[in-house]
């Protein structure tokens, strides 16, 4: 209970700070020369993209540790991370086309990183669907761990195959071998936004984790109540 509520507070703070990101991006960060105002969406797009991928990594890692330790907390965390990752992937897939239309002249193109994000989104959907289709909690945890680990291995392969296929996407300007080529003030806005998205990820995960704890508690109580009722009825019959 406490965790879900704390998660809500963290998310709320994150959302308030997100308003701060908008404010800083729109009013206190210079307009990019060639892309104009459209570039502003980058401050949301890129942090969300980084977290969409990191969340998948954490789902996979939690899966590896789950298979060794069989600790249900790891499974709960993996599920929460997957749900948060789905949201971030959806943000990337929404903000991308909004930027793509004025800059590339098309809403969608089968560019390497677009394809990667789309498949990441499908992977998350598959993961969540598999969870909802497996009623037994222990089996569900194991299946999700297996799928999460496979997903973790799949991502580099998709990356490789889509890059070999073709790419149109702007080359990385921050996460690349040489120092970032983004001007200082833009970099600060971006890092600020990345911090906010990290906070949002933590808030989302805390909420989902707390909720799944509550659900488990409820299920246990219902079971206990059913057992008690069954005993009472059985007594009457006898």
């Amino acid at each position: 209970m406490r965790l879900a509520r704390a998660g809500r507070w963290v998310t709320l703070v994150g959302l308030l700070l997100l308003a701060g990101v908008y404010l800083r991006a729109l009013a206190f960060t210079p307009i990019e020369r060639s892309q104009g105002p459209a570039q502003k969406i980058f401050y949301l797009h890129m942090p969300a993209a980084v977290w969409a991928e990191l969340a998948m990594g954490l789902v996979g890692l939690a899966g590896v540790f789950y298979l060794f330790l069989k600790d249900p907390r790891l499974d709960r965390f993996a599920a929460a991370s997957a749900e948060a990752g789905t949201v971030f992937a959806a943000i990337v897939l929404t903000t991308g086309p909004i930027w793509g239309k004025p800059i590339w002249g098309t809403w969608w193109t089968w560019d390497a990183r677009l394809t990667l994000t789309l498949l990441l989104f499908f992977l998350y959907m598959g993961y969540l669907l598999l969870r909802s289709a497996t009623p037994d909690p222990e089996l569900r945890a194991r299946y999700s761990a297996v799928l999460g680990i496979c997903g973790l291995v799949l991502v580099p392969f998709i990356h490789l195959s889509t890059v070999m296929f073709r790419t149109l996407h702007p080359a990385p300007i921050v996460l690349k071998p040489s120092p970032p080529s983004l001007p200082g003030s833009m970099l600060i806005t971006l890092l600020f936004s990345f911090g906010v998205f990290t906070l949002l990820y933590i808030g989302f995960v805390m909420q989902v984790y707390g909720l799944s704890l509550l659900q488990e508690e409820l299920a246990a109580r219902e079971r206990a109540a059913a057992v008690a009722r069954g005993r009472g009825e059985g007594g009457d019959d006898a």
Partner: protein, 226 residues
């Protein structure tokens, strides 16, 4: 190691014998594949698009569907009469069970592909003969990748609701890298260009096969144990 392989072969032989005695599954898969190829013919404008441009995609979309169909039944048939429990309590390792199922699935998909390839050549008039050997190598490489992941997932989905729907939803994202590689390599081959031009794609296919064969062998025990 010897025992593992011997047991794996026992499992594979059991599955193949079952397939051979009933023949329903493999025949349905063959007919389905022929139908998909037929449907593709009507899914294009023959006056506007040359077949050769579409041929690699047609071939590989058909093969992926065939593989999913074959994989769906791999563990489904073990559910009848609790046969899976029997397999699990028998004195064979999980690795043998996975490898046995893998071999049986590869044979099943292979048979379907053996029928589908000539049909594909016939229907779409593809100049396949000059590049037949490398094409078969590409098909083998990609099929191993499909079936390695697919066998693992098919063991998983049988105990979920909507198993037949769950498998393609989980599996298709995993088909993308081998599919991309196979389509690119096939396109080069059908164009009469040497296989060395697709060397990068072949490396991707081989890397995928190795990675997922190892991973699936390691993860498989976690999918079948009660």
């Amino acid at each position: 190691m010897g025992d593992t392989l011997r047991h794996a072969w026992t499992i594979a032989r059991k599955d193949l014998l079952l397939e051979f005695r009933t023949r329903t599954a493999v025949l349905s898969a063959v007919v389905f594949t022929a139908l998909v190829l037929t449907v593709f013919n009507f899914g294009r404008d023959p006056t506007a698009v040359a077949t050769i441009d579409l041929a690699p995609s047609i071939l590989w979309v058909t093969f992926s569907f065939a593989a999913i169909l074959a994989l769906n039944r791999a563990f489904q048939l073990e559910l009848e009469n609790e046969a899976l429990e029997g397999l699990l309590v028998s004195p064979i390792s999980r690795t043998s069970l996975y490898l046995g199922k893998l071999v049986a699935n590869l044979m099943f998909v292979g048979v379907v592909e053996c029928v589908a390839l000539p049909l594909f050549v016939l229907f779409f008039d593809v100049p396949v003969w000059r590049a037949l050997a490398p094409l078969i190598a590409v098909i083998a490489l990609a099929t191993v990748g499909f079936v390695a992941v697919g066998t693992l997932f098919s063991a998983m989905v049988i105990r979920t609701r909507f198993a037949e729907l769950m498998l393609p939803v989980l599996l298709l994202p995993f088909f993308i890298p081998p599919l991309t590689g196979a389509v690119q390599a096939t396109a080069r081959l059908l164009d009469g260009r040497p296989l060395s031009e697709a060397a990068g794609w072949l490396r991707l296919l081989a890397g995928y096969d190795v990675a997922f064969l190892v991973l699936a062998t390691l993860l498989f025990p976690h999918t079948v144990d009660e």
